[in-house]
């Protein structure tokens, strides 16, 4: 068997396992709490075909995109500075780690008061989730760059710009992609949590509305669509991440 078919088989087994557990949970808990995989998939198909669904998906997608851009730009910038300046990095690291483990949901009321109800609050909440891992990974990548690479750049008479583009960027890229991967998952989490409260658009809102009307199958279907989208994006990032790390 080739490596690719083994890989496909692994994925099929994982999906089959999830479906079996899901079906068992459904049979245990009943339709009032967990809809069956088949019913959920059908409902998801209906949602994807209905025009009313797409504005909500677009709202979440847009919020995620904005939040990611903000998280990545700030994370890369701050991370690079902290990584390059040892003392700042040493001071900032414990603070970042503390912020990382802080349950940020406690800040959501503050965010809502500052940004109001709507897209801005979701973007801000998503960004504060994603920015910390991107910063930490970038900082460590820059800090741990092999010093002999920098010596080599000096021996080759390279200027700061050449060193940045031809050594710093490629040398740190694998770690930074790892940071993006973690950052993506957390940014999505932040955006969805933001939509669960005090929101009237987006995928999170659809989930909350379905809970409100006790429409279990719709609630599960929206969650399924979100999960599939997130897994696809995260797998792509993981694939790139693995490819880059294989060379190191």
């Amino acid at each position: 068997m080739t490596r690719n078919t083994t890989y496909a088989l692994d994925i099929a087994l994982v999906i089959a396992g999830i479906l079996v557990i899901w079906q068992l949970l459904h049979m245990g808990a009943g339709d009032v709490a967990i809809s069956s995989p088949a019913a959920t998939a059908l409902r998801a198909g209906e949602l994807l075909a209905s025009p009313g669904f797409w504005p909500h998906a677009a709202e979440t997608g847009l919020a995620l995109l904005y939040a990611l851009i903000i998280a990545v730009l700030i994370g890369l910038g701050v991370g690079t500075l902290l990584g390059a300046h040892r003392l700042s990095g040493a001071v900032a690291e414990p603070i970042l780690v503390a912020l990382y483990s802080l349950p940020k949901i406690t800040l959501y009321p503050v965010i809502l008061l500052v940004f109001g109800l709507g897209l801005e609050a979701k973007v801000a909440f998503g960004a504060i989730h994603g920015v910390i891992p991107v910063t930490i990974f970038t900082m460590n990548a820059v800090k741990n760059i092999n010093p002999v690479f920098l010596r080599t750049s000096r021996v080759l008479g390279m200027g700061p710009m050449q060193t940045a583009t031809h050594i710093l960027v490629p040398a740190t890229l694998p770690e930074i992609v790892s940071g993006l991967r973690v950052g993506f998952s957390l940014t999505l989490l932040g955006v969805i949590i933001g939509e669960l409260f005090a929101s009237h658009r987006g995928m999170g809102f659809l989930v909350m509305r379905a809970i409100g009307t006790h429409d279990v199958v719709t609630m599960m279907a929206v969650t399924l669509i979100l999960a599939v989208a997130a897994v696809l994006i995260a797998s792509t990032l993981l694939y790139i991440d693995n490819r880059l790390h294989r060379r190191v």
């Binding site: 010596r151 080759l156 008479g157 390279m158 060379r247």
Partner: protein
């Protein structure tokens, strides 16, 4: 050509300033060193004696605290002068580039034209026995092969002075002997001046025209030995009697220094920090 001074250190010392409560470290000197154009010079000495510092100062990677550095008659200040190449002990091959791109790296940064790059890279890959691995990534190669990639990367720039900081330090003894043969071949064919930093006395004896033996930190030259080897030589001289004599004399000189560097019979704390 013979006897012309190619690079010179005069009255050079290097003191690393105090950091975070540690006292300043006097790593090197004062030393004087004259490298003759086209010679193979090795520096041996106990660990932490400042050998690598000496190379850094000569390359312009690290400023001397006192004294003058000159390469081809011009003072070395702040930057690595054109015509100086260096290979380090650590693996400096770039993991994100193929072997061929690694070797071409310096030439591309200098804006050499494509045809010339291709020609020089092909020659260097052939010379270092890397032709079959041109499209491989360093992660697929052994440590010795990666070090050859770094040597090839330096070689293509056609340096007139090649500085080697324990380039084979991480390799096993037999691979080191073979790499030594390749180094001699490279030295003969390029006509470059070579300065080799090493802790291996046999390696220094086998490769060098002259060997500078350095004291424990702060490193100073105890004595410079002329080996008298012919220019055309290889590792087969290991069988000869002279080889044993020279290596023996080096050890005689360095034995006490190495003990001092390890902390026997010296002031406590004097030799406990690596100065490189």
């Amino acid at each position: 050509m013979a006897g012309e001074i190619h690079a010179r250190l005069s009255g050079v010392t290097r003191v690393y300033p105090a950091v975070a409560g540690n006292p300043p470290v006097h790593a090197l000197g004062p030393i004087d060193l004259e490298l003759r154009r086209g010679e193979f010079f090795s520096i041996v000495g106990p660990s932490g004696c400042g050998k690598s510092t000496c190379m850094d100062v000569l390359a312009g990677l690290s400023p001397p605290s006192e004294g003058e550095v000159a390469f081809e008659g011009k003072p070395v200040k702040g930057n690595v002068p054109d015509g100086v190449g260096a290979v380090f002990q650590e693996d400096a091959s770039f993991p994100w580039l193929t072997v061929s791109d690694n070797v071409a790296f310096g030439l591309r940064r200098q804006g050499v034209d494509g045809a010339e790059i291709a020609k020089r890279v092909a020659y260097a890959l052939g010379f270092m026995g890397l032709r079959d691995f041109a499209q491989a990534y360093p992660a697929q190669l052994s440590g010795g092969m990666r070090q050859r990639v770094c040597i090839a990367r330096t070689l293509v720039l056609q340096p007139r002075l090649i500085l080697l900081d324990e380039p084979f330090g991480a390799l096993d003894a037999q691979t080191r002997l073979l790499m030594g043969d390749e180094l001699l071949r490279l030295w003969r064919e390029t006509g470059a001046t070579v300065l080799l930093i090493t802790h291996a006395l046999d390696e220094a004896t086998m490769l060098s025209d002259r060997i500078g033996a350095m004291s424990a930190r702060p490193g100073r030259f105890l004595e410079t030995i002329e080996t008298g080897w012919p220019r055309d030589r290889d590792s087969s001289m290991l069988e000869g009697e002279t080889f044993g004599h020279i290596t023996g004399r080096l050890w005689q000189m360095l034995r006490a220094e190495s003990k001092a560097a390890m902390g026997y019979g010296s002031e406590p704390g004097q030799a406990d920090r690596e100065a490189g």
